[in-house]
């Protein structure tokens, strides 16, 4: 069984993922799959500044590649073994970011077509850290790394939009459990 945990705050998403897994019988625990298991974003950090700063679209293509890696090596093997795996973050954090940055919903939906639908979705209602540290979440990292903000949009407004998007997704998902960690 696949449980997704999405939210803006990386720390809160990680904490909620641990709680979700702890609620599963020990014999069925498959683990928590976190972003950048592929190391793509870690490699981005060490890139020279002259290489150029990526746009939201480029970063989301990289996140999708990272998610494909996680599915291949972490999530699908656990599911095939009959275990519960928690993906934190999963697809909805990325969709919220993309929509907040002005990307079209159709493009985002196509991008993540390869990702299976989770059996349960949880959303963390917690603001992000002020600056992205070493334990930053996906969205905190991306906000600080993104080349271009949508015109006339501050960091705070972008975060508000992402949280608004995630709240809407939480309301839509029938079995969603909003969590205030």
């Amino acid at each position: 069984m696949l449980i997704s945990v999405d939210g803006v705050s990386g720390t809160a998403v990680a904490a909620a993922a641990r709680v979700a897994l702890a609620g599963v019988a020990r014999s069925h625990r498959g683990g928590v799959s976190t972003w950048d298991a592929s190391g793509l974003f870690q490699d981005l950090i060490v890139a020279e500044e002259e290489a150029g700063i990526p746009s939201a679209r480029t970063l989301l293509l990289l996140y999708a590649a990272d998610l494909a890696f996680r599915l291949r090596w972490e999530i699908r093997p656990a599911l095939e073994a009959g275990r519960v795996v928690v993906a934190a973050p999963y697809v909805d954090s990325a969709i919220a970011l993309g929509r907040a940055a002005g990307l079209q919903s159709g493009w985002l939906a196509n991008l993540f077509l390869f990702a299976p639908r989770p059996a349960e979705s949880q959303y963390v209602d917690q603001p992000p850290a002020r600056s992205a540290g070493s334990d930053a979440g996906l969205l905190e990292f991306v906000i600080d790394r993104m080349a271009y903000m949508p015109p006339a949009l501050s960091r705070e407004q972008l975060i508000d939009r992402m949280q608004g998007r995630l709240s809407m997704l939480a309301r839509r998902a029938g079995r969603a459990r909003p969590i205030g960690v």
């Binding site: 592929s38 002259e50 990526p54 293509l61 590649a65 697809v91 991008l111 015109p151």
Partner: protein, 267 residues
Amino acid sequence: MCDDVLPKDPVTKPSTPIHRRTQRQRVRERFADPSRRPGLLVAFEGPDGSGKTTQRKLFKTWLKSEGYDVVTTKWNSSALIKPLIKSRKSIRALSAEEFSLLHAADFRHRVEQHILPALWNGKLVIADRFLFTGLARDVARGLDLDWVLKLYQPLLWPDLVFYFSVSPVTSGRRVGAVRTPNYYEAGQDVTNVNDPVESYHRFITRVISEYESLALIFNFITIDAEQSIGDQHHHIRALFRDGERRPWSQWNMDAITEWLAQREGRP
């Protein structure tokens, strides 16, 4: 969730309608103004061993002698993404999806950082491989054409696409004369054939088949790459002279408008 298409929400628009309309007007003025030399995008496509790089170099030299301001962009060459791909290729760590997504990221970064800025400034951009390379290779790896094509949206269409057509045998012979195809070049990730030469033949046959379909769908200008280098070059010159007078393609409006909006939103 994964195939969920969210409704349009005015809150998440990147700019106001008036702002976007102004940008669209600016794009039209920039590219459709007959009094200024517009930026031109010319793509060279074809399988490995088709001789397109040789032709691209000859073409560039000729264009510069004709007074064009020319820049070149190559496939999988962005300073940001290329190292990420290279290190993962070297350990054969990429699935078909990961391969596809990373090359789309590399392409997008080059479009935003190099290709569109050059076109905006009226330069002639020669692309040694374009998004059609991603389409042909990814579909040959078994991915869905529609999914892959949408990764590259908003689409930027070249003004001209020269497709260098060769048979799988010719491609294999030319590549084999200078090197043994590497793991991904030979498609060994999908053919499961241990011999790289045999795997290359099988894989490039699929790739060429996809290219032939794309050539029809997207109206490529096909160059018989089995002909002599000189004949091909003179043919390309003549075709370029005809093609450069084509009107600017409205299809590129979304891609350029998005880039312009991003550029002006830079903090």
